[in-house]
């Protein structure tokens, strides 16, 4: 945020010591507003009843695989990556719009996992822990009712209350079991109800302790136990409602993010209605204010979304997100569906609103220019993992991960001289998240794979051999075609002609040929093993981790190599 632009005057003065605004994180001791740890989201395929009968394990799609990052108050964190890298899933899981498979998210220091009301998805079995705890909950419910029942006999003043509440409690326990087994979902009221019941059970049992003795004691203990248990299990000290109030999201598609059957006034008012904020008049005022603030006319409140253009709809979506005056907003590709001129308007608007409302943003985008334009810090995602995380300035000026480098390099610049700029392109496609590569996930495309020591091949030759092995491993080589094409020549020879696109030094060539001969026999596994023996890279064996330094990159070229490979660390040209 250097002062290069004209429009600075309507912005907050830039605080001292913040030349780029990007090192707010440097305020040591500042607790993050949002803290994500090992967040994981898998989707499951082949998860129907029949699949289970046929005993085929569900296939997992590892959309998000253990990402961790912090977002500090007032900053904008960018999450950038290509389509299918899991960035949008990460954003939705973070807001608990999809159930996380694993990991935790803390908002303002308080854990938010387990909030009811996430969009249910047909996942595999719930974790054993959830199952157990729900059974436990149900048992506790029974015990509490039994306790409550004896209280009834002892102190006849409260019979109806206790029986009704005990019954409700029991129902809730059953409901939780149902939820755990995916039969239905409990709304947030379930949690509230159960907590209320626990408190009431204790309150009702206590006075009768002297009268009923043992049974009432069971009631008190069970009630207290349940209450503690609920708190522990949920770890929710921030209520779901408060969390929803303090967070918001803006989606990519302005045509699907507004219900076509609601007027835009209703759309913007909806969050206020849900949380029952203010009087009718106050709500109307708030809606008018918001609509005008995002640059539309309050006269248009009665119109339907279809009467607006993409950019205008995105403004409405932004107004809706701001209705409850949230602290944290996830912006999921907010400008990707817009034309450039409109994109610029929306970006400016977001920028102004951030200062005005004191917002913290998580900006998810595939567009590196947009990311650079408004983000303070940036996380780069590849195949469900964060591969690099750093200050925007640092990351764009001196990327450390080869993927980030390629990504930055490949963006065409709208400037003269772009035709002459040399670009390094990747020639391999993104692997499937169903079966991500071992070790470093980028290794199948990486231009800087670390070859085994002393292999003596150029990077492109090494690349060719690795690609060849990859295809053999994936069974992507059709021997039938090769046999047809070979006609009277040797099949292995034909395979080499077809599959090897660079010349190899003789000793390597003969080694590869050996493997191809094995392949020609139809022994895929053996051929792949043969090649792996000599050409396996450290990138393939060990998964690189994101360090915890200032600007970490998950790459073996940087972070410390796994110990076993330490001595084998080669020099890369």
């Amino acid at each position: 945020m250097t002062e290069t632009a004209d429009g600075v005057e309507d912005r907050e003065p830039i605080p001292e010591g913040m030349p780029t605004g990007s090192d707010r994180t440097a305020d040591a001791g500042d607790d993050p507003l949002v803290s994500v740890r090992e967040l994981t989201k898998y989707f499951y395929e082949h998860d129907s009843l029949y699949d289970r009968l046929l005993d085929r394990g569900p296939v997992s799609i590892q959309a998000v695989d253990g990402i961790s990052f912090d977002i500090y108050e007032g900053e904008t964190l960018g999450l950038v990556g290509e389509s299918g890298c899991g960035k949008s899933t990460a954003g939705e899981t973070l807001l608990n719009l999809q159930e996380a498979t694993d990991g935790s998210v803390a908002f303002d220091g308080e854990s938010i996992d387990g909030i009811d009301g996430s969009v249910p998805s047909s996942t595999a079995d719930p974790p054993v822990g959830v199952k157990l705890s729900s059974v436990l909950l149900a048992v506790l419910g029974v015990v509490a009712v039994a306790g409550g029942g004896s209280v009834v006999t002892a102190a006849a003043e409260y019979p109806t209350w206790i029986v009704v509440l005990g019954g409700a409690w029991l129902l809730h326990g059953l409901a939780s079991v149902g939820t755990a087994y995916g039969l239905w979902t409990v709304e947030a009221w379930g949690w509230r109800l159960a907590t209320g019941v626990a408190v009431l059970a204790v309150a009702l049992s206590l006075p009768t302790l002297s009268v009923a003795g043992g049974p009432a004691g069971v009631g008190v203990v069970a009630g207290l136990g349940l209450f503690v248990y609920l708190l522990v299990r949920r770890r929710v000290f921030i209520t779901p409602s408060e969390f929803r109030r303090r967070t918001a999201i803006v989606f990519q598609d302005p045509f699907s993010s507004l219900d076509p059957r609601m007027t835009i006034g209703d759309v913007v008012r909806q969050p206020l209605d849900v949380h029952d904020v203010g009087t009718k008049e106050e709500r109307r005022e708030r809606v008018r204010y918001l609509i005008e603030r995002v640059g539309l006319s309050a006269d248009q409140l009665d119109r339907y979304p279809s009467e607006f253009s993409g950019g205008q709809r995105q403004r409405i979506a932004i107004a809706r997100a701001l209705a409850l005056d949230p602290d944290f907003v996830v912006l999921d590709e907010p400008t990707s569906a817009l034309d450039v001129s409109v994109q610029a308007q929306v970006l400016n608007l977001l920028d102004e609103l951030q200062d005005e409302f004191g917002l913290t943003y998580l900006l998810i985008s595939h567009d590196l220019s947009v990311i650079r334009h408004i983000c303070d810090r940036v996380a780069v995602m590849y195949l469900g993992e964060i591969v690099e995380l750093g200050d925007a300035e640092d990351l764009f000026e001196s990327p450390r991960h080869p993927y980030t480098e390629v990504l930055l390099d490949n963006v065409p610049r709208a400037a003269m001289g772009e035709r002459e700029r040399d670009i390094e392109t990747l020639n391999v496609d993104v692997p499937s998240p169903r079966d991500p590569p071992s070790g470093c996930r980028f290794r199948t495309r990486c231009p800087e794979v670390i070859p085994p020591e002393d292999v003596g091949l150029e990077q492109d030759q090494y690349r060719a051999v690795t690609d060849l092995r990859q295809r053999i491993e994936d069974r992507e080589v059709s021997l039938r075609t090769a046999r047809q094409q070979a006609e009277d020549r040797i099949v292995a020879q034909e395979l080499a002609d077809r599959l090897l696109e660079v010349d190899l030094p003789p000793n390597h060539r003969s080694y590869v040929d050996e493997a191809l001969e094995v392949l020609a026999e139809g022994e895929y596994q053996d051929a792949a093993d043969h090649l792996r023996e000599r050409y396996e890279s450290v990138c393939e064996r060990y998964h690189p981790h994101l360090g915890d330094e200032d600007h970490p990159a998950a790459c073996h070229l940087h972070g410390p190599l796994p110990e076993e490979a330490e001595e084998a660390r080669p020099v890369v040209e």
Partner: protein, 339 residues
């Protein structure tokens, strides 16, 4: 519930093509006919014995026939001609065909309407919940649907009739004087209540609900991934409220289209059941066709007229369904617009 855009599409399609106009006109006629059957009818449709003095039923114009009679010990041939008293003749038991035609429309339409309503009430909530929540509820629904589909609907209907029996429900007729609950008293001399095949209505709903469940499930399944549903989540709206506020209103369009088409299907099933003698009421076009079948060669009109009634009412409903689909299906609109 219906958005302006949908309305304008409906208008546009109606204006631009002939078939919807024909359908609406036809359906309006049939509905009016059914509603005002007691007014329009010339005879009590249940009264039998309107025979020619020589014993045969009256033919409608153009269907005069000769029959043999014993007259004073002699056997002679008598020609029986149409009479203005019975515009469309009488049937084999001597009931007025025209009056029964009008009342038949009532039965067909009422069974269609009630049957579809019942199927909607069963199918839509089930489908929406299954599609929205997914998981085991959904799995269960789909398996149930598989089983339901393995029964041919007519065969299932027949089997269910075996279970429920053939219970007609008598509905008081407000048009007729002396009717029990609401007496508009426009007509007199007609039955004060009409029997509609009650178990058939339940059975057709049980046979067709699964289609509503399937369609609304599909809608809910796709709508739950719509961003406005996610947005509602993100502001803390509960699932139940989302189902009512967002999912249901936005699935209405395809459900309406399906309901219209299913009315046509139900009218046909009802006619078939009545034809096979399983409906429990004789006041039905299908039953009338069966009745005329045995005398098809000599008294063809008995079967012909009710058949025409069925065809016209089913066509009109189908035309309406086509109109809705053409107007409301976004795919079709998209392909017209593509540049």
């Amino acid at each position: 519930m219906i958005s302006n855009r949908v309305k304008s599409n409906l208008r546009q399609t109606f204006r631009n093509s002939l078939l919807p106009k024909v359908g609406v006109l036809l359906l309006a006629t049939i509905v009016l006919m059914a509603v005002f059957a007691p007014v329009l009818a010339t005879h009590d449709p249940t009264r039998t014995g309107y025979f020619h003095e020589n014993g045969g039923p009256y033919p409608p114009p153009g269907f005069d026939y000769t029959t043999t009679v014993a007259q004073g010990g002699e056997i002679g041939e008598v020609r029986i001609t149409a009479t203005s008293e019975h515009l469309l003749g009488t049937n084999t038991v001597g009931q007025d065909v025209y009056s029964r035609f009008l009342y038949g429309a009532r039965v067909s339409l009422l069974v269609g309407l009630f049957g579809v309503s019942l199927a909607l009430v069963i199918g839509v909530p089930f489908g929406l919940v299954a599609g929205y929540y997914g998981g085991r509820v959904d799995d269960g629904l789909m398996r149930l649907a598989d089983v339901m589909l393995a029964f041919p609907s007519l065969v299932l209907a027949l089997a269910l009739i075996g279970v429920f029996g053939q219970q007609p429900i008598r509905i008081p007729d407000p048009i007729v004087m002396g009717s029990e609950y609401l007496d508009l008293g426009i007509a007199s001399g007609m039955p004060e209540s009409i029997p509609i095949p009650g178990s058939v209505t339940v059975v057709v709903a049980l046979v067709t609900w699964v289609w509503f469940a399937r369609v609304s499930r599909g809608e809910a399944l796709s709508l739950r991934n719509e961003e406005y549903v996610k947005a509602a989540k993100s502001m803390g709206e509960h699932n139940g409220a989302i189902l009512l506020k967002h999912v249901l209103p936005n699935s209405v369009t395809p459900i309406i289209v399906l309901a219209t088409i299913q009315i046509a299907v139900i009218i046909l099933i009802e006619a078939s059941l009545a034809y096979l003698g399983f409906s429990g009421t004789t006041l039905s076009w299908g039953y009338e066709i069966e009745r005329g079948q045995d005398v098809l060669r000599t008294r063809p009109w008995v079967s012909m007229l009710p058949g025409i009634g069925i065809v016209l009412s089913v066509i009109s409903v189908n035309l309406l369904g086509d109109w809705f689909r053409d107007a409301l299906d976004p795919n079709i609109e998209g392909s017209e617009r593509g540049a």
